[in-house]
């Protein structure tokens, strides 16, 4: 190690005093990570996907009910929202280091912690969506239905977008560099997933409003992808362009963005379009988490982000 850790530079001060020590060549402490990578395992990216889908489905269910859309659309949308919320909660519990203490999440409400706000959003969302579904199934009247469906639609939007805040408002350089883009990206993907999943639940029928929503979502994904790639942040977000995470990220983004747009324009079978978008969104979430792990372990990224 001797001889290459501290490059020598000529003295800079004229007073004969030695210059301040130059920085070592390997970034940080001999190239070791400056930050700790996220400890999250497979459950979390899957949760980002399922939660986004459930949230998107609830947005569609709420608006569809206002627009007096047929029950054949509203009901499967609500079922997706409720089942998605339940699966999301299960995934979040599984991911904990101490799963039996999951209720501690609701011990406090902490606006400084997106994790805390998100736990409350998910709880409220699950309750509201379940109320809407129950009143639709058992004919409990419009008051209870709207008490559920209204909040579920708004909370659904927040459920799909807050995961972007959750990873954006961290010290992980590649995530932090896109803290305003991520909620848009995740939210629009969630909306598209909702539409795609409802279409599949309706027996593979991409009815006109769902088709429009999916088209909007896939166009938004194209724009988001171009926006992220156009605003590269050097070392800070280079993990988005190297390694396994990058492949998943861009592979998924290609499916949800240009591929889905194209399939919609050539009127490909609804099932194919829906599956392309869903699979793309799913692997894109894994890409973001993997890239985040690589980014946090990159000392140059971390030090550059904090200069």
């Amino acid at each position: 190690m001797r001889g290459d850790d501290v490059p020598t530079t000529p003295p800079t001060s004229g007073s004969g005093r030695p210059a301040p020590a130059p920085a070592p060549r390997a970034p940080g402490y001999f190239g070791r990570p400056v930050l700790k990578p996220p400890v999250w395992t497979w459950e979390v990216p899957l949760y980002f996907f399922v939660g986004g889908l459930a949230g998107g489905a609830a947005v569609i269910a709420g608006v569809a009910a206002v627009a007096r859309a047929p029950k054949a659309l509203v009901l499967p949308a609500l079922v997706l929202a409720v089942v998605g919320a339940a699966i999301s909660a299960g995934l979040l519990v599984l991911d904990l280091g101490r799963p039996t203490r999951f209720l501690n999440m609701l011990r406090v409400f902490k606006p400084t912690s997106p994790m805390s706000v998100g736990a409350w959003i998910l709880s409220g969302f699950g309750g509201a969506a379940a109320l809407a579904l129950a009143s639709a199934l058992f004919h409990l009247g419009p008051v209870l239905f709207w008490l559920g469906a209204g909040p579920a639609a708004v909370l659904g939007g927040l459920l799909a977008t807050y995961t972007g805040v959750l990873i954006g408002v961290t010290t992980v350089p590649a995530w932090a560099a896109h803290d305003r883009t991520l909620p848009v990206h995740f939210g629009m993907a969630g909306l598209g997933c909702g539409a795609a999943a409802i279409a599949l639940a309706m027996g593979g029928r991409l009815v006109p409003p769902l088709r429009t929503i999916l088209l909007a979502a896939s166009l938004a994904e194209v724009v988001m992808g171009l926006w992220i790639v156009a605003r590269r942040h050097g070392a800070r977000d280079r993990a988005l362009y190297h390694g396994h995470g990058a492949w998943l990220l861009h592979g998924g983004g290609t499916l949800t963005g240009p591929a889905t747009t194209l399939l919609l324009l050539v009127h490909a079978p609804a099932v194919l379009v829906a599956i392309a978008f869903l699979v793309g969104a799913l692997i894109n979430r894994y890409g973001w988490v993997l890239a985040g792990k690589a980014s946090a372990a990159d000392p140059e990224a971390a030090l550059e982000a904090a200069r």
Binding site: P18, V34, P38, V63, G97, M105, P209, L210
Partner: protein, 285 residues
């Protein structure tokens, strides 16, 4: 305080800290001899489990980094010249140097881990330390990505207390009992000092001046007070660029970006509702 003999807070038999007094660490690389007594004392007192017998091959540092099971970490820097004089012409060319730095949780004035914790497990103690209540922590891991220094870690499930997030407790228990932190007590050179934070800050400034006067012009105090972290309670006297020690020059608390990110989430939610409404309106025509 250096050379205070028995009057030093490290050497006194009892160091009771009055509630409301903000205490701190002052870790001085120019005094550290790399004996790792702090690492050992910390492990012993706090019952921190071993985290694997890893041979890094990097100088004498087989600890590697701070983690959920390493709350003091002594870094070993092998230099081509005595510390603070690299590149200067004063030292003969074959004169080597060492730097040892005992890294620890910074107990930030505004702590990213504390703000990120969704359960309220991480709290501020009455002496200004950042403390994880182990019986509340559910192991969500969000504090890990909230710390700007990569300090706090989630302990592997197979270790004692596994699954929870751990870091330096500032020996909160010893503080309450008048003992002072184990690492400071064990440090034979008083490279680690413990005491009221304002006194340590003043002492650190004096020490840096002394070092400059002695020709160690690279000596600096690491205490990022002009960033959103707002200063640290574990001060460090370093030689050279903080980045050499893996310390960011301008660490920021993630929560400074909360508003803009939530704004984006809120606007996107509105856009999702609007797009959906538009889609149904178009279909109804």
């Amino acid at each position: 305080m250096i050379g205070d003999g028995k009057d030093s807070t490290n050497q006194r038999e009892n160091t009771f800290v009055a509630d409301g007094t903000t205490v701190g660490f002052l870790t001085d690389v120019t005094l550290c001899i790399g004996c790792k007594a702090c690492e050992v004392a910390c492990k012993e007192w706090n019952g921190v489990p071993d985290d694997g017998y890893v041979f890094t091959g990097q100088s004498y540092d087989n600890t590697g980094a701070l983690s959920g099971s390493t709350w003091r970490h002594v870094q070993f820097h092998e230099l081509d010249a005595p510390a603070g004089r690299e590149g200067g012409g004063a030292a003969p060319p074959d004169d080597l140097g060492w730097l040892f730095y005992s890294d620890v949780c910074k107990h930030c004035e505004r702590a990213g881990c504390l703000e990120a914790c969704p359960t309220g497990a991480i709290v501020r103690t009455e002496t200004g330390g950042v403390f994880v209540q182990d019986d509340v922590c559910n192991g969500c891991g969000y504090c890990v990505v909230g710390c700007p220094f990569g300090v706090i870690g989630r302990r592997d499930a197979d270790l004692p207390g596994g699954g929870g997030a751990y870091k330096c407790t500032f020996c909160y228990d010893r503080q309450k009992g008048g003992g002072g932190p184990a690492c400071a007590k064990a440090c034979p050179t008083e490279s680690i000092r413990f005491g009221p934070l304002d006194l340590l800050r003043a002492e650190a400034d004096r020490r840096v001046d002394t070092l400059h006067a002695r020709g160690v012009t690279g000596a600096t105090l690491y205490d990022p007070r002009d960033t959103s972290v707002g200063g640290v309670h574990a001060l460090s006297i370093l030689v050279g660029d903080p980045e050499r020690y893996g310390l960011p020059r301008a660490p920021e608390v993630p929560s400074t970006r909360l508003l803009r990110s939530w704004l984006s989430a809120g606007l996107t939610t509105a856009a999702m509702l609007a797009i959906t409404a538009l889609a149904f309106a178009l279909a109804a025509r």
